[in-house]
Symmetry: C2
Subunit: 265 residues, 2 copies
């Protein structure tokens, strides 16, 4: 068995292949985490450039890359920054906050359960793009065959579509694979392996910076996966796609990000 001398290094190494550590996206993950796991009533909490740099360095991202990413995020309206003497403090903008909250359930929410009923909607062949495609996707439907959509709620606008609902439907393998393609399955498997190699007993004794960095790496990888999982709760039906509960257990063990502790040390 592999010794767990440095869980952060191990985890980083294991996730590096599948993970896409785009720096700006990692910063959004971190700021979203501060927002979602911070004081419930608080607005986007600020994070100093100093604390941010420490965490990013701990996962192997150089200060220049962090600065470039912060510049880009500010320019794109994701974050605001304020200056306090020599310190810069960054927080999510109204826009960034809105986008973060709109997907929070998919990342932090509890495991989804299999639907009580399935709904299938088949559009007429050669349907001109009359908005129904987009409307069905927005209602949580997923396209499993050209023009054939599955969802777990009754569709709002059926029109002349063929619509069946069934409480007994079984999801065949090819539909699951269509909903969760090979790349996503592989990323989930990698994350499952990374989690399984961590020794939960020793995690709380890690230095606060390591704990924070490990939390960020795992959460970032999970966030990428969670946002690519379809609205249909396929993971409720596929053991090999289930990683949410284990991930949440690890995050609880690691505890929330302690920004103050980082800048004090």
């Amino acid at each position: 068995m592999m010794p767990h001398t440095d869980p952060l290094t191990d985890t980083l190494a294991l996730l590096r292949d599948s993970s896409d550590l785009r720096v700006w996206s990692v910063i959004i993950t971190l700021m979203g985490d501060l927002t979602m796991t911070g004081t419930p009533d608080a607005n986007a909490p600020g994070v100093s450039g100093q604390a941010l740099g420490k965490i990013m360095s701990a996962i192997g991202i150089r200060p220049e890359a962090t600065r470039v990413a912060l510049h880009r995020l500010r320019k794109d309206g994701w974050i605001d920054s304020t200056r306090h003497g020599r310190r810069s403090v960054y927080r999510l903008s109204e826009n960034g906050l809105g986008q973060t909250r709109s997907v929070a359930d998919r990342i932090y929410g509890p495991a989804r359960t299999a639907p009580d009923r399935w709904h299938l909607v088949a559009l007429p062949p050669h349907t001109e793009d009359d908005g129904r495609f987009v409307a069905l996707i927005a209602e949580g439907f997923s396209e499993v065959l050209p023009g054939v959509f599955l969802g777990e709620k009754a569709p709002q606008t059926i029109g002349d579509a063929l619509h069946l609902s069934d409480s007994q439907m079984r999801l065949p393998d090819w539909v699951t694979q269509r909903l969760a393609p090979a790349k996503l399955r592989n990323d989930i498997a990698q994350l499952q392996i990374a989690i399984s190699r961590l020794n939960q007993g020793t995690l709380p004794r890690l230095p606060v910076l390591d704990r924070t960095a490990l939390r960020l790496v795992l959460l970032h990888e999970w966030r990428r996966i969670a946002l690519r999982l379809p609205d249909l709760p396929v993971e409720a039906l596929c053991p090999e796609l289930q990683v949410r509960a284990d991930l949440q257990s690890i995050l609880t063990t690691l505890g929330p990000v302690q920004i103050d502790a980082l800048t004090e040390t």
Copy 2:
């Protein structure tokens, strides 16, 4: 209003455009009719060349065409013939009898009712022809989109297909049109018009040959339509496809074919 001086000529004229009076097929219609409406226990009743020629002539088919068709039908194993002195008598072969009986319900059966439940089966994309397509068609399913089938009975062999059943499904117009294409709809409309122009009160007073010929023309056109209607009872849901009841009423009024009366006159 058009005078009904010669219902047979009127009907023939109206149906000529849509109808496909292939001579061999008309003979099968007649022999099937003799079999299905004759004595229940009798096997295929025979029909003399003389009687056959009279009926065919009455609907405008020349004796040479009838002889060629009889030759072809015998060669293809649809009919047998026996000689009695100078008379030839023709009857359906075992094979012809089997084929006639296998579709008798579609032609002579009562109107079908809308299904209590619908079943939708979607095959995986790019399904190799593994026999499921043919099996689903044989089970009465109809393909409404590539790889997507509708039926009124639970499929026997689902395998990894997506299967939903629903008692509430409404059949959209594009599915009906797919199941009953424009040509078929037009033929049904023509037959409906032909029937509506007949004066049922006067039909029983027609000469026996005219009655027989009219019965054959109407039945032949209906048979062509009935065999092209899908196994799904779309006509139960579409008033414009309903012609069976009116047709059966006319056939009852005209009475069964009286071969003996034809050869005696």
